[in-house]
């Protein structure tokens, strides 16, 4: 990975998140406040380092770091960890927020599988201000879905193994719903609306049933089913949690799937 400054900060962030993940596991077992404080400090250090890595990449490339899978996973995991940090002081979410770091590890781990080179010159198709509107809003939305995923997984674990060591089930259910409630409009605006406007000027049609477009539609439909069922019938519980998990798995497929399925979005595949 070399010794470029962005990569030094990248690895500092990743190792910090790994250390915080270990801390989070210890906290889950002991529930000692001091352990949680240490986890918080380490996670915050990781987030700061990741922020610097993103900033360095932005400065070096001359454009927002939103192109290519490395940058995208870096941005997505940064936004997800940031969301957990924002929720850190919320009552009843002590254990949930302690698990910010594993999300960072997962996102940065996936990012590390892809080339980290900094492209100063964007290819013609990506030379549009819609690039960063489309991609950054989609990343923020998917970060919110990542939060819902963690809460929903905890809900499912509680339903399976009992609730003694977990946050209150209503709280987890509400966090899942709220996170989807934040992410869903952002996803609609960023991935669908901004994406359609950009696609129209770049490819001659706002929608082409490209694999990434289609899988984005599936993400939208899964969360639409979740929200519809919740609004109309007040549906919640383990079924809703399972659907939230499914939604995030489809989201991951959307983020990474175009690399295997080809199509208009597979620029750097």
């Amino acid at each position: 990975m070399g010794t470029r400054p962005d990569m030094i900060f990248f690895w500092v962030a990743l190792w910090s998140y790994l250390a915080a993940t270990v801390g989070a596991c210890i906290y889950a077992g002991t529930r000692t406040p001091i352990v949680r404080s240490i986890v918080y400090v380490i996670t915050l250090a990781g987030l700061t380092s990741q922020t610097v890595a993103l900033g360095v990449r932005w400065a070096a490339s001359g454009h927002p770091p939103v192109t290519g899978p490395f940058d995208y996973m870096l941005l997505l995991s940064w936004a997800a960890v940031l969301a957990f940090i924002v929720m850190w002081r919320m009552k009843g979410l002590e254990l949930l927020t302690a698990f910010a770091a594993p999300v960072g590890v997962l996102g940065m781990g996936v990012a590390s599988l892809f080339p980290s080179r900094i492209e100063q010159q964007l290819i013609p198709a990506l030379q549009s201000y819609w690039l960063w509107i489309h991609v950054s809003l989609a990343a923020l939305a998917e970060a919110a879905f990542a939060v819902s995923f963690v809460a929903a997984v905890m809900y499912m674990i509680g339903d399976w193994r009992g609730w003694e060591r977990l946050p209150d089930k209503e709280t987890l259910d509400m966090v899942t719903y709220r996170a989807i409630g934040v992410g869903f409009p952002l996803f609609t605006i960023g991935a669908l609306l901004a994406g359609a406007i950009w696609a129209n000027s770049a490819w001659g049609a706002p929608w082409s049933w490209d694999p990434k477009e289609t899988s984005s539609l599936i993400v939208w439909l899964v969360y639409a089913i979740y929200l519809h069922a919740r609004f109309v019938k007040g549906w919640r519980g383990v079924g809703a949690a399972r659907l939230a998990v499914l939604g995030f798995l489809v989201t991951l497929f959307t983020v990474l799937g175009s690399r295997f399925l080809g199509g208009l979005h597979s620029y750097g595949a």
């Binding site: 100063q120 010159q121 706002p206």
Partner: protein, 383 residues
């Protein structure tokens, strides 16, 4: 029927009407139920998943090669390889729209009757309404839209009629630009638009910046370097030396430039370039088999002490060295070349998408509706 006479008909018609009314009522309540809406969305997601996983609109061979003969043929015949244009996907879409429109009407009535929670209720209404707008946009484009690439590549000076556009385009320049470090930066095509032979405007077409004229979008689709010119050729020369090691010289020459071969009285000049060389035996002329750079060749003039020795085509790649050049005072190898990106071949894509403004409006309404519904206070579990 004749035996039954008019009386049974008087009974039959109201019965049929009653049955139809009951069926319609049942159908309406089925269509507007939450369970139906969810199953419709699930079905749409499932079909979309097939559309995302199975490559769409490829030739049959692509599927049989990937999935085997039997399964490939099944996918192709069942329409799963063009799933978004099947009758069942269209009918599913229609059901979703009808269901949504009926729910929208119900919501309007509810909104009028219960003025509280107006903001989130309006949001919910807009969200449902937008689905119908988006579907209408799709229908308009499906009925009156098109999108396809131009049939041929064009170079500077070429003219092409835009189908269904009532205008034609002349390419004034087509080039690919690079940064100093060699990274691709832009594809540019300068064009002049003509209507009835009269020049009406000049424009530059780039990726992300199409020409929009008379409802037709002309997009930069592809760009190739020139197939008949290059910037420089790299040529290797091996000159035999009596009772000594042969001289190896690597030279670079721009077309038309005479380059002396150091240490000899030989010189050479690159006269022509063909990206995909072919030879017509009947006419005895060299030409292009295609515009692709599949069989690049240069016509080289070799001079000795200023006198013409030979004028001959030399090939790069797979055809290099296949010919006996023992009659020449040296061996010549066409090693490489810098393509001419300033005089490129450009290809357009034409698109008319009349539903696009409606689609953007629909997506805008959807986004607004969702923000109002989800980002304003709302009691849980209530429609």
């Amino acid at each position: 029927m004749g035996v039954l006479g008019p009386v049974p008909l008087v009974v039959l018609v109201p019965l049929v009407l009653l049955a139809a009314a009951l069926f319609l009522q049942k159908f309406r309540s089925w269509l507007t139920s939450m369970r139906t809406a969810i199953w419709l969305l699930v079905a749409m997601a499932a079909i979309s998943m097939i559309g995302a996983l199975v490559g769409q609109r490829l030739p049959l061979e692509a599927y049989t090669e990937r999935y085997g003969d039997a399964f490939g043929l099944f996918l192709f015949r069942s329409g799963l390889t063009n799933v978004f244009r099947t009758w069942y996907f269209a009918q599913l879409g229609a059901l979703v729209v009808v269901s949504t429109v009926m729910c929208t009407f119900r919501r309007i009535v509810r909104l009028v009757r219960r003025p509280g929670r107006r903001l989130s209720a309006t949001g919910s209404l807009l969200t449902h309404l937008s689905i119908a707008v988006i579907a209408a946009a799709g229908l308009v484009t499906a009925l009156a839209g098109f999108k396809y690439p131009a049939p041929r590549y064009l170079e500077a000076g070429d003219m092409i009629e835009v189908p269904e556009g009532g205008f034609s385009i002349r390419v004034d320049a087509a080039r690919t630009e690079f940064t100093e470090d060699g990274s691709l930066s832009e594809y540019l095509t300068d064009v002049t638009v003509f209507e009835n032979g009269v020049e009406v405007l000049k424009r530059r077409i780039e990726v992300n910046h199409p020409l929009n004229h008379r409802g037709i979008g002309v997009y930069q689709y592809e760009m190739l370097p020139s197939s008949r010119s290059i910037r420089r050729a790299f040529i290797g020369v091996v000159v035999p030396v009596p009772e000594g090691a042969p001289l190896h010289r690597d030279i670079t020459a721009a077309p038309g430039e005479t380059v002396e071969i150091e240490g000899t009285d030989l010189s050479l000049k690159v006269l022509e370039f063909l990206a995909d060389f072919t030879y017509d035996i009947e006419t005895g002329t060299a030409g292009l088999a295609s515009i692709r750079h599949d069989n690049p060749a240069v016509l080289v003039e070799l001079l000795e002490a200023g006198e013409l020795v030979v004028e001959r085509w030399f090939f790069m790649g797979r055809h290099a060295g296949h010919r006996d050049d023992s009659d020449l005072p040296c061996r010549i190898f066409f090693l490489d070349y810098i393509p001419d990106f300033d005089n490129g071949l450009t290809r357009f894509e034409y698109a008319r998408q009349p539903g696009t403004p409606l689609l953007f409006a629909g997506l805008g309404i959807l986004s607004l509706g969702l923000c109002l519904t989800l980002w304003t206070k709302r009691p849980q579990g209530v429609a």
